[in-house]
């Protein structure tokens, strides 16, 4: 759970970095070059297989853990501890993860499937033919429903990371006192910044901040 989680976190760093290129305001040139590199480099293709494996493993581990842990208390409490002892999102990782899974299916069908299995219209940058993934982004995010769903997905991601980031390091036994406050701080910042950056992408497109 923790290892696959940290692996997926490292993927988010790459993903958010590349997507941030849409704000270069160069008509998508930088973004298209970056996504062309990601789509055509052999090493990246191999890493992609690893990424899907990690993702599936994380999902399976998560579901198994959730089912097992839920079965440990057959009779529940009449009055429960609730938020008096822990944050709601730390107790809702199964739910948040499931929401993220639905989001991911939608997200992959919007961008990954078309770019991998269909021929996208191409554009020319510095004399090179590259798929115009940028135009895809502009097209998909014209739909307000999609934008709202993406923002909700990013909110789920934020809460999932708020707990998951620091929890992963604790499970790996990162000791004690001084490091854990550092990890909590970094995890908090990471969750907020990454989710906000992702959420701003569909919003910026929809509001016409990038074109």
């Amino acid at each position: 759970m923790s290892l696959t989680g940290i692996f997926l976190i490292s993927f988010l760093v790459v993903h958010v970095g590349i997507n941030a290129c849409i704000w270069a305001n160069d008509g998508g040139g930088m973004f298209n070059l970056a996504s062309h590199f990601m789509a055509t480099t052999v090493v990246i293709r191999i890493v992609e297989v690893g990424l899907f494996a990690g993702l599936v493993l994380h999902i399976v581990q998560g579901l198994v853990l959730e089912v097992q842990n839920r079965s440990r208390r057959k009779t529940g409490y009449a009055v429960s501890l609730g938020n008096k002892g822990s944050k709601w999102y730390s107790r809702s990782m199964g739910l948040l993860g499931t929401l993220l899974l639905f989001f991911l299916i939608m997200h992959l069908s919007h961008f990954w499937v078309p770019s991998r299995f269909t021929e996208l219209p191409s554009t020319e940058i510095n004399g090179k033919e590259v798929a115009n993934q940028y135009a895809e982004i502009l097209r998909v995010f014209q739909n307000p429903v999609v934008v709202v769903l993406y923002v909700l997905g990013c909110i789920s991601l934020m809460y999932h990371l708020l707990h998951g980031f620091q929890s992963a390091f604790r499970t790996l036994g990162v000791p004690n006192g001084k490091y854990i406050s550092l990890i909590k701080g970094v995890g908090f910042g990471f969750a907020i910044i990454v989710s906000l950056a992702f959420a701003m992408m569909p919003v910026s497109v929809y509001l016409g901040w990038v074109s």
Partner: protein, 252 residues
């Protein structure tokens, strides 16, 4: 502190034995002094029940001074009641006001089956200790304290972990019914001292194996345990247990 009397409504879990289904019973109780402890209030209730020819409420208690860990009650949604770092026996009725309704439940976890009313079977904890929560050499008589030097910070951390009284509130509070805080306290307590250090790997592996066998859940770091622990055992111990466990697994 001002003394006052109060009338209360108690909703208490009654269950004949581990085979039967239990249910809540409601009792009215009058003239409870704010200076009583929670268990004294339960004694008053039980005397009243006995006078009325009813069966008294069975609950665990022993030291009544916060050190034995037997007084397990889940009071209004929190193990050991509303006060921070406190046991049920050290909870006083000044925590309540006239007219309050108090719901009292037993610890809920498959690994802690209800024996009767509010008493649960916590022998799973004993079996976890038996699996490795000890030092297997005979240490003989108490030796001169300075013959084995222990760094002050380690002695302090070990002592803080040793404060665990095995009450099970951590399990009761955890959404996964995980016993990690308890086990981590026991493992840290011994692993931090020179006498316990050599066996730390087998200890961590065996105690965790027993914990899983008893049917406790896995830790997902929600921190509910730490927030209710009467002895303020820190979750830092869980990270320590995890690292002991991982290192032991890697080196075997």
């Amino acid at each position: 502190m001002e003394h006052y009397k109060m009338n209360l409504t108690l909703r208490i879990w009654r269950q004949k034995n581990s085979e039967t289904k239990g249910r809540f019973e409601t009792y009215k109780i009058e003239d409870i002094s704010s200076e009583m402890s929670f268990l004294e209030m339960m004694d008053v209730l039980n005397e009243k029940l006995i006078r009325e020819g009813q069966e008294p409420v069975a609950f665990d208690h022993d030291c009544r001074e916060g050190i034995c860990g037997t007084c397990s009650m889940f009071i209004n949604g929190r193990p050991h009641g509303p006060w921070h770092a406190n046991t049920t026996c050290q909870l006083h009725m000044r925590a309540y006001q006239d007219g309050d309704t108090i719901t009292v439940e037993p610890w809920r976890a498959n690994a802690f089956p209800v024996l009767k009313d509010l008493i649960v079977d916590r022998s799973a904890f004993d079996r976890i200790i038996q699996a490795g929560g000890y030092i297997s050499v005979n240490t003989g008589n108490a030796v001169e304290a300075n013959s084995i030097l222990v760094p002050k910070d380690q002695a302090d951390s070990s002592f803080a972990a040793a404060a665990c009284i095995g009450c099970g509130a951590c399990v009761a509070a955890c959404k996964n019914s995980s016993a990690m805080l308890f086990v981590s306290a026991k493992v840290s307590h011994l692993a931090l001292l020179p006498q316990g250090y050599p066996e730390r790997k087998t200890r961590a592996l065996n105690m965790i194996a027993q914990m899983d066998k008893e049917g406790f859940g896995s830790c997902t770091n929600t921190q509910a345990c730490e927030s209710v622990c009467p002895k303020e055992i820190s979750m830092t111990n869980i990270a320590k247990l995890n690292s002991e466990f991982i290192l032991a697994g890697l080196s075997d």
